[in-house]
């Protein structure tokens, strides 16, 4: 039954590096190591590259979001959420398990500093009516259900605001509807007060589809960087955006 303990406590696995150099190891059995890697953040975040792209610009796969030029505070929160299991995605949970906050700040800063062109917006298959509904929700919200307009927090340009509120441009409809549904189901959390959980719970299934579809079809504005902190106040109190 030690096994259980070992699942966690295991003195585990060593990668031993022996002399890479062509010729046989030197007499004392010691070997010289290869040249050290570039001392850059770029070299350090290659662990993220296969899913988010080498610079966080996203990949062919629309399941993984673009993280380049998202607000640093937002990215830091997500890194933390994944490490703490407040968001569940094993590869992320696993990669971040033994990294600390100070390093997270560096990683978040690195990606938020990337300025890269956005991919072509989605060509949505949903009907014009649905798109129209989506646009209305984004710009005006739904007073009947006390749903604030997305633009209220994420900005008229939908490019988000520093430090904590992400832009909604350049995301895929599937990703957006997934996040809203997660908030509804309670599988995604943000620092309390969790304003997005509030909002997501007020949306209907159809509204989620509409919003996601419309947002995904929006081209990025010329300047797609988050607005400066404090540019506007959010209609709902949000833990991730201290006022």
């Amino acid at each position: 039954m030690n096994t259980a303990c070992s699942t966690r406590l295991g003195m585990g696995v060593l990668i031993l590096l022996l002399a890479p150099l062509g010729q046989a190891a030197e007499p004392d059995g010691r070997a010289k190591a290869g040249s050290p890697p570039p001392n850059t953040m770029f070299a350090r975040v290659q662990g993220c590259s296969t899913c988010h792209g080498p610079l966080g610009q996203g990949t062919y796969d629309d399941y993984f979001p673009r993280i380049a030029s998202k607000p640093p505070g937002y990215l830091f929160n997500q890194l933390q959420n994944f490490r703490e299991g407040r968001r569940s995605y094993p590869p992320m949970n696993y990669l971040l398990a033994y990294l600390n906050d100070d390093y997270f700040h560096e990683i978040a800063k690195f990606f938020s500093d990337q300025r890269l062109p956005f991919a072509e917006p989605e060509r949505s298959k949903v009907s014009p009516e649905v798109l129209a509904t989506g646009e209305r929700l984004v710009r005006e919200g739904d007073a009947g259900r006390q749903v604030p307009a997305c633009t209220g927090c994420h900005g008229a340009q939908l490019t988000g605001i520093n430090p904590g509120i992400p832009g909604l441009i350049g995301l895929h409809s599937r990703y957006i509807s997934a996040q809203l549904t997660e908030w509804r189901a309670g599988t995604r959390h943000a620092n309390g007060p969790d304003c997005m959980r509030e909002v997501a719970n007020r949306l209907t299934e159809e509204q989620i589809t509409a919003v996601a579809a419309w947002l995904a079809t929006q081209p990025a504005p010329a300047v797609a960087t988050p607005a400066a902190a404090g540019s506007w106040a959010t209609p709902l109190p949000c833990g991730s955006q201290p006022q």
Binding site: Y63, R87, S88, Y89, P90, P91, N93, S173, R174, S177, A178, L180, T181, E182, R184, A185, G186, T187, R188, E205, I208, T209, A212
Partner: protein, 250 residues
């Protein structure tokens, strides 16, 4: 051939004749008087004619195009589970790293493969709709669906969800006069019938939501409208009792 035998044969032949005349000539002419003789005769024989003859097709809109076949019941291979595990990484955001969401999205750990497969098929075909799942399922091939299902079926059901306490009446007995079968006799509290989902340990909110959706016909991918009929007959209380019971929260 002796006399008696001959008489017997003739008598029986006569009966056949009489019966035939009544059955295929006389009655049809009365019953299907509107049709020609031949048509009437066909009806008496039971030869089906095109539904056109009756106007609109009596076949209701099909609720799902998934058919439970032996192939679906075949045990899955380790390879299926392996590939399923990788495909299922994308489900973990809502359904949890090991198929347990600890929230309101359905737990999939230990769910029957046929059940998961059918729902994925229905999401893909649009028979069941959901903002996320419809999009998710669209990108899955038939093999993908089987593998994901195989993976989740292979995961252990959470020990934490051992049901305690007595089941409410609707779970234990249903309500015969309202044609409500006992939930438990198909969904696991008492017994399990093939291809019906295992509900023990599913989130209360989820079960409640689905039953309500069935009742309002908003969800309609249940074959022969079984669940719609049942949910329709259930009172909101019963729905909540059942949900609470299966979630282990009573």
């Amino acid at each position: 051939m002796n006399k008696l035998g001959l008489w017997a044969i003739l008598a029986v032949a006569a009966m056949v004749l009489v019966g035939g005349v009544i059955g295929f000539v006389w009655l049809p002419r009365v019953v299907y008087s509107d049709q020609g003789f031949f048509a009437a005769w066909c009806s008496a024989l039971g030869v089906p004619r095109s539904w056109a003859a009756y106007g609109a097709s009596p076949v209701a809109r099909i609720s799902s195009d998934v058919v439970l076949t032996h192939e679906l019941l075949e045990p899955s291979t380790p390879a299926d589970v392996g590939h399923g595990a990788t495909l299922a990484l994308r489900c973990t955001m809502c359904h949890g790293p090991t198929g347990i969401s600890f929230a309101d999205s359905p737990n999939l750990a230990g769910q029957y493969a046929v059940v998961i497969y059918k729902q994925l098929r229905d999401y893909k075909s649009g028979m069941r709709t959901n903002a996320v799942m419809s999009a998710m399922a669209r990108s899955l091939s038939d093999t993908d669906m089987r593998q994901v299902a195989a993976y989740y079926a292979s995961l252990p059901r959470p020990a934490a969800f051992r049901l305690t306490g007595a089941a409410p009446a609707v779970v234990k007995y249903g309500a015969p006069m309202r044609n409500i079968a006992p939930c438990g006799s198909c969904h696991g509290a008492i017994d399990h019938t093939l291809a019906s989902p295992w509900l023990k340990g599913e989130p209360r909110a989820y079960i409640r939501a689905e039953l309500t959706a069935f009742a309002s016909e908003e969800r309609h991918n249940d074959i022969d409208a079984q669940m719609r009929a049942i949910a329709h007959g259930m009172t909101p209380d019963e729905i909540d009792q059942a949900a609470a019971y299966f979630a282990g929260e009573h």
